[in-house]
Structure formats: structure tokens, C-alpha cells
């Protein structure tokens, strides 16, 4: 990698996706997140624990607007904000004027008028955060838009990979499963590609369509799962997004599991020190075998822990705590 300059602030006002970020932006987020990780000396597995509460963002307010069900991402943002002493307001969508037919834009303009310091949005429509960003100056953090991007997930994944592999460049990463409907896959392939990783995709043919290899340099589409796993340093599994399929794209969860579930036998094709990741919630026995998810190879718990650290870093960087 060429020498990079070190940034002290992000080049972007919003976090809409990974694609518009530079390598320097990403490095800055990861370096900032590292401050919020603590590393017990005894553990050799890169386990981390977030730091205790800080006063950095006291008096600032974060609004969470989740137009789609979420447990871990919403809780992770809430925890991140609270650890920095931010006030958190959850837009309760079932009780709000959204139910009364108010348009998305009007709702967000109303929220913006209350002058929060940042707005976290998750929405089933791809591009919704981009649309809203054109109409407000409040920093928007995309917590997942349709099947487009989920940038905080890719950043926490990058932090987790770096914890274990000590680098992001020159890695072979297999991303497996329902790529078509995965915003996690899109964000991850943009991020890893920016660092020069080789990314192999595989899954049921309609879920890994032609053209994915054009999304970023270093991406290849493999016809078979085994091919993608060969020599991988990192194996990222994805959840089967049945709720996003308009038509059944495979016969049954059982049929899917038979050919695409990450079993110990399949994982044996990866490097012996390969780590296994999953953005959750995972379907035990369908997209990942229980013994793999529970094994030493799985870094799923660290992903969750790093989620808080990465989101703390982003809140710090985007809410103007920096001059």
C-alpha cells in the first residue's frame, strides 16, 4: 500500500455508505475505535471489552429512527451513545406520526428541527439515507438501507479482522450465502476492496448474480462454495434473507443448508487459522453449523463487542466533538 496521510476528521459529513469513504477515512474510524476497545492481557484471542462511560459527548442528542426491526444494531448504537454520555431518543415508529401517514421527509424534517446532533436511520428502502441527507444538515448515520449498504457493520468487521489478522491488506476473504439481498456483503466488499483484499463470493446462483464482480476491484464470483473457501483467511457468512425475497430463490431452507451451510468439513478448505464471521442473527444449522458458530474459529462475539467501539468512534467523529 502506498503511504497514506493520516486524517483527523472524516472527509464526509454523513456516513451514508462505505463506497464514498477513502482508505484514510476508514483508518481514522478504526484508529478512533481502538481507543474504545480494552484488551485484557490474558486473552490471546483478541477479545475486547468497551471502555467505561466517558463525558465526551455530554449534552449532545442522538435520534434513532429504525423503520425496520433491529435488535443488535439499535442496542449497539444506544450503548455507544450512552458510553459517551449522549442523550438517546428512540423514534417509536408504531406510535409516531408515520402511522398517521406523514411522509418520510416530513418526519425527518420535524426531527431535524429539534436539532439533534446526529440521526441514525435504518430503512427498508435502498437510498433512503441519501435522500434524507439532501434535505438536512444533521449528520446521518446509515444503519442499513434496504439491500444497499450497512457501513457500521463493515467497519466493525474490519476492526475484528484487524484484531485477529493484524492487517486488512493481502487477505483472501470468502463471503458466502445470500449476496444479492445483503447490505452487509456490499459494504464489506467495498471496504475490503479498498484495502486490496481478494474477495470470493459464492452462494445459490440467483443470489450471486453476474455483475457483482464489477462492484469493486478484487471481487470474483465462484460457482461453488468450496472454490470460494479454498485458502481463505476470513470466512464471512450471511443470513438467508427470506423476508427480502419476492419469490423463493431456492426450494427450502433444508435445500439451502444442504449446499451452503458452513460445516466443519467445508471450513476445512479455508486456511487453518481462518476466522469465521457472521453479522447475525444467524440461523443455526441453516447458514452456519452450530459447531462452527460455537468453535474457536468463530469471532461472532467479538464482532458484537467491536460494534459498540466502532459506533462510539463514528459518533465522536460525526457529531463535531473534533474541531
Amino acid at each position: 500500500m502506498a503511504a497514506r496521510k493520516t486524517l483527523t476528521r472524516l472527509s464526509q459529513q454523513h456516513l451514508l455508505g462505505i463506497e464514498p469513504l477513502s482508505v484514510e477515512d476508514i483508518e481514522l474510524v478504526l484508529a478512533t475505535a481502538e481507543k474504545y476497545q480494552t484488551r485484557p492481557e490474558a486473552s490471546g484471542r483478541g477479545e475486547t471489552r468497551p471502555v467505561p462511560r466517558l463525558d465526551l459527548l455530554r449534552g449532545k442528542t442522538l435520534v434513532l429512527a429504525f423503520y425496520e426491526p433491529s435488535t443488535r444494531t439499535r442496542l449497539s448504537f444506544e450503548m455507544a451513545a450512552q458510553r459517551l454520555s449522549m442523550d438517546v431518543v428512540n423514534l417509536a415508529l408504531e406510535a409516531s406520526s408515520v402511522q398517521k401517514g406523514e411522509s418520510l421527509l416530513d418526519t425527518v424534517k420535524t426531527l431535524a428541527a429539534m436539532r439533534p446532533d446526529a440521526l441514525v436511520i435504518r430503512h427498508p428502502g435502498s437510498g433512503v439515507p441519501h435522500f434524507l441527507a439532501r434535505h438536512t444538515t444533521v449528520p446521518i448515520l446509515n444503519a442499513g438501507d434496504g439491500v444497499h449498504e450497512h457501513p457500521t457493520q463493515a467497519l466493525l468487521d474490519a476492526l475484528t479482522i484487524r484484531d485477529h489478522k493484524r492487517r486488512l491488506d493481502n487477505l483472501k476473504v470468502a463471503i458466502l450465502g445470500d449476496i444479492l439481498h445483503s447490505r452487509v456483503a456490499r459494504s464489506n466488499l467495498h471496504l475490503l476492496s479498498k484495502f486490496g483484499a481478494r474477495i470470493a463470493l459464492a452462494g445459490p446462483p440467483p443470489l450471486v448474480p453476474k455483475g457483482l464482480e464489477k462492484l469493486a476491484p478484487g471481487v470474483t464470483v465462484c460457482r461453488r462454495l468450496e472454490e470460494a473457501l479454498e485458502g481463505a483467511d476470513v470466512v464471512m457468512m450471511l443470513r438467508v434473507q427470506l423476508e427480502r425475497q419476492r419469490e423463493p430463490l431456492f426450494a427450502s431452507p433444508r435445500e439451502y443448508a444442504r449446499h451452503y451451510c458452513l460445516t466443519p468439513e467445508r471450513l476445512a478448505r479455508a486456511r487453518p487459522d481462518a476466522i469465521v464471521m457472521h453479522p447475525g442473527p444467524f440461523l443455526r444449522g441453516i447458514d452456519i453449523a452450530g459447531e462452527v458458530a460455537d468453535s474457536e474459529r468463530s469471532v461472532i462475539p467479538q464482532q458484537v463487542a467491536n460494534g459498540v467501539a466502532v459506533r462510539m468512534a463514528l459518533l465522536e467523529l460525526l457529531t463535531g466533538a473534533h474541531p
Binding site: 411522509s103 418520510l104 428502502g125 435502498s126 437510498g127 441519501h130 435522500f131 434496504g146 455483475g211 464489477k214
Partner: protein
């Protein structure tokens, strides 16, 4: 009224192959003479030096939104936009509320059009009741009331039996059936062209295959029935090649292309701007190249805008929720000059044929040529004047154009219907 002399313009009339400096004399709303120099006393003179004088342009694919969605457009505002775009006539798609599926609606539309600025409004009747695709509409009565063509536009004719029956009627009545070609089994839920950009943006795609398949079906059915088939807003290379080969075999099939489909590609959707969302969607550079070839070689018969006004409220939402469609009447000629004429791809004769001669012939209406004794419907435009299109200065009630702020080289200067100047820049 004094006779009007359009003096010293470059007269382009594809029907007679004329492309030369001429004077055009208009008396009592009709073309009285086309000659090298016309000298007469007591004339009103329109100086047309450096202007192109063409038979009036006809946009055969327009959504005027009246009745039913007057917030987006009315016959009055839509025909003013048409005149400003150089169009002397428009064909109005029947997907209004109510749908134009009975002679009553057709007559109401024609009556309302007489209150406008004079732009001729040709109603297109629905193929099926309510454009629901299930039962044929009153096709013969629609024809008798003044419908010039049949279409369920906004929706494809999904049922092949209905298509066949409609073409059988069309053959007997000498009408054209216009189909929005989209196999909805393949396209359901799609919001932009299926390809690299839809994958990147995480938007569900409308595949090119969904357009090509019904075009193939329609060609075969037109050949069987002898009914004239017209493909609306053709947008893909595959569909264009299907039309080209059917034409070669003598099938009665024609097609139109919109200015946005030959000017923009799916990359324009990259910022999720709802003004780039229409159906059929913006396609790939390869499709655009194919359309440009088709426009030049005669495979494409007409340029039509698919002018589809939507209110700001409707369009000011996220990409997936926004309705399909953009306005196009006021930018069509500017785009055609930019992409087709100034690039040397087509001649002025061909350009005028695409905008005027061919659509008039397809719909079987008067116009499209400078015939002595015919109504003096004329489009005057220039080739060089630099101007900028701004939706807020436009005549449409709606502003959903991806071309807002675009600079053009050449465009409409004056529009005359029956010798009356209804627009002048």
C-alpha cells in the same frame, strides 16, 4: 385575418424530400403556397431566416393527467408545454381517472381540448375495460368517437389472447395498437434497469429480457393478425433487434424511442434521484448505442416523450417509493438536436420524419407534411441558439425532469396551429 408569410426559412418536409430555402404562405389557416419567393401585398410576415420550418411535430405518447390527476397536469398546462416544445399535436394516453375506455370519456377529452391553446389532442383509447387487461373495451365506439389508437399504456397487455383480439379489431379499423412491453413476471418490484448499477445501489432491477420477450410475442401476433403493432418507448438493444428483424420480414410493426432513453444511462440513478426513475428504465451505454443506430437506420419510427408529470410531493420521496415517469415535452427537440443532429448521426429530414411525418402517418391523422390546402401546423426551430432548460420556467405543472439546468444548442422558436402562432420564444 391577413395572410401570413413565413419568409426565407429552411423548409424541411420529409414527405416530399424538400430541404431548401422557401417561403411558406398561409391563408385562412391553411398552407396556400410553398415557393422560392412569394411576393404579395398586404401580408403579415414572419421572418424565418436561420430557422428550420417543418411540418408540425406530433408527440404520440403523452400523459395529460386530465381527468383525474389535475394536480400534476391538465390539458391546458400540458398543451402549453407541448407548444413550448414545438409540438402542434399530442396523442393522449388513456390511463386517466377514469380511464379512456368509453366514447363518453373520449368525447369529454376532445371537448376539453377545444378550451386549450389550439394544440391538437388526439385521444388514445384503452384496449381493455379500465385497462385492467381482462375484457376488451368498446373499441369500435372509441374509434367512432375519435380515438386514433389503442393502448393500455401504464400497463402492458399481459394477456396474449387479448392482444390478438385487439390486433384483429385494429386490422379491420386501420388503427394501431400501442403496447408498453414488459413481462411482469420478470420485472415485478423492479425500480431501475437490472444490471451493474442496480446491484451496486441495492435496487431491484427491471431486466432487459422483460421488454424483449413481449416484443417478440407482439411481432408474431401482428404477423398473424395483420393488425398494426407499435412498441411504446422501446429501450433495449434486444427489443430493437426484434423489431428490426420483424420489419425485415414485412411484419406490420413500428416503434418509438424517448429522448431520455437515447440521452441517459442507468448510471444517472447513482444518487437515487427520483427524476431518473421511469419505466422502462434508463438502460446501459450499449442499449443507448443500439437506439442511436436504430434512430439513424430507420428501425425506429418516431421520437415520443412519454411525458409523465408527477407532483413534487409524489416525487419527493425515496427512490423505491417514488412513482415512475418524467416530463419531456419541453426538452425533446433540444435533446434530439444534441444527441442526433449535432453529432452527425441523422439529417434534418430524418429528424423531422421522427417528430412529425412518421407519427402522423402511424396514427393516421392529418399533418406531418407541408401539403397545399392542409392546415398550417408548423414547427419552427433553430439549430444554434444556446439556452438553458429550467423546470421552474417551464409550462408543465410538474417539474420532474432530470434535465433541469441542462444547456442546449438549438430548440423550438415558434409553433403554429392552423396558421395561429400559439408559441413564440
Amino acid at each position: 385575418m391577413k395572410p401570413l408569410l413565413i419568409r426565407n426559412g429552411r423548409v424541411v418536409d420529409p414527405a416530399s424530400g424538400l430541404d431548401a430555402r422557401r417561403d411558406v404562405l398561409i391563408e385562412e389557416g391553411r398552407i396556400a403556397a410553398v415557393d422560392k419567393t412569394i411576393e404579395r401585398a398586404d401580408l403579415q410576415v414572419f421572418e424565418a431566416t436561420n430557422l428550420i420550418v417543418a411540418p408540425g411535430f406530433l408527440d404520440m405518447h403523452v400523459h395529460l393527467r386530465e381527468p383525474g390527476q389535475e394536480g400534476a397536469e391538465t390539458i391546458e398546462s400540458g398543451t402549453r408545454a407541448a407548444a413550448a416544445g414545438g409540438f402542434t399535436a399530442v396523442a393522449a394516453m388513456p390511463n386517466t381517472q377514469p380511464v379512456n375506455d368509453t366514447p363518453l370519456v373520449t368525447r369529454a377529452l376532445l371537448a376539453q381540448a377545444t378550451q386549450g391553446n389550439g394544440v391538437r389532442v388526439y385521444p388514445i383509447g384503452a384496449v381493455t375495460k379500465g385497462s385492467q387487461g381482462e375484457e376488451l373495451a368498446e373499441i369500435e365506439s372509441l374509434r367512432a368517437a375519435g380515438a386514433v389508437a389503442l393502448s393500455d399504456d401504464g400497463r402492458p397487455i399481459a394477456n396474449s389472447r387479448i392482444l390478438r383480439r385487439a390486433l384483429e379489431y385494429a386490422a379491420a379499423l386501420n388503427m394501431v395498437v400501442i403496447d408498453h412491453c414488459e413481462e411482469q413476471q420478470l420485472s415485478e418490484g423492479g425500480v431501475m434497469h437490472e444490471g451493474e448499477w442496480s446491484l451496486r445501489l441495492g435496487l431491484r432491477g427491471l431486466p432487459a429480457l422483460a421488454e424483449q420477450l413481449p416484443v417478440l410475442r407482439n411481432a408474431v401476433t401482428a404477423a398473424l393478425t395483420g393488425g398494426r403493432m407499435h412498441i411504446a418507448h422501446l429501450s433495449t438493444r434486444g427489443a430493437l433487434e426484434a423489431v428490426r428483424s420483424a420489419k425485415r420480414e414485412g411484419v406490420p410493426i413500428t416503434c418509438e424511442v424517448t429522448p431520455h432513453h437515447f440521452s441517459l444511462t442507468d448510471e444517472a440513478c447513482r444518487d437515487y434521484d427520483t427524476r431518473t426513475k421511469m419505466n422502462p428504465p434508463l438502460r446501459t451505454p450499449d442499449d443507448v448505442a443500439a437506439l442511436l443506430e436504430g434512430l439513424a437506420d430507420g428501425t425506429v419510427d418516431a421520437i415520443a416523450t412519454d411525458h409523465a408529470p408527477h407532483t413534487a410531493t409524489e416525487k419527493q420521496t425515496d427512490f423505491e417509493s417514488a412513482p415512475f415517469g418524467i416530463i419531456g415535452l419541453e426538452t425533446a427537440l433540444g435533446l434530439a438536436l444534441e444527441k442526433l443532429y449535432h453529432t452527425g448521426k441523422i439529417s434534418l429530414l430524418r429528424l423531422v420524419a421522427l417528430f412529425s411525418t412518421n407519427p402522423a402517418r402511424l396514427l393516421g391523422v392529418e399533418g406531418g407534411q407541408l401539403k397545399i390546402g392542409a392546415p398550417a401546423d408548423l414547427t419552427l426551430f433553430d439549430l444554434e441558439r444556446a439556452w438553458t432548460y429550467r423546470t421552474e420556467e417551464g409550462f408543465s405543472k410538474s417539474r420532474n425532469s432530470p434535465f433541469d439546468g441542462r444547456r442546449f444548442r438549438g430548440g423550438p422558436v415558434a409553433t403554429l396551429v392552423s396558421g395561429a402562432l400559439i408559441f413564440r420564444r
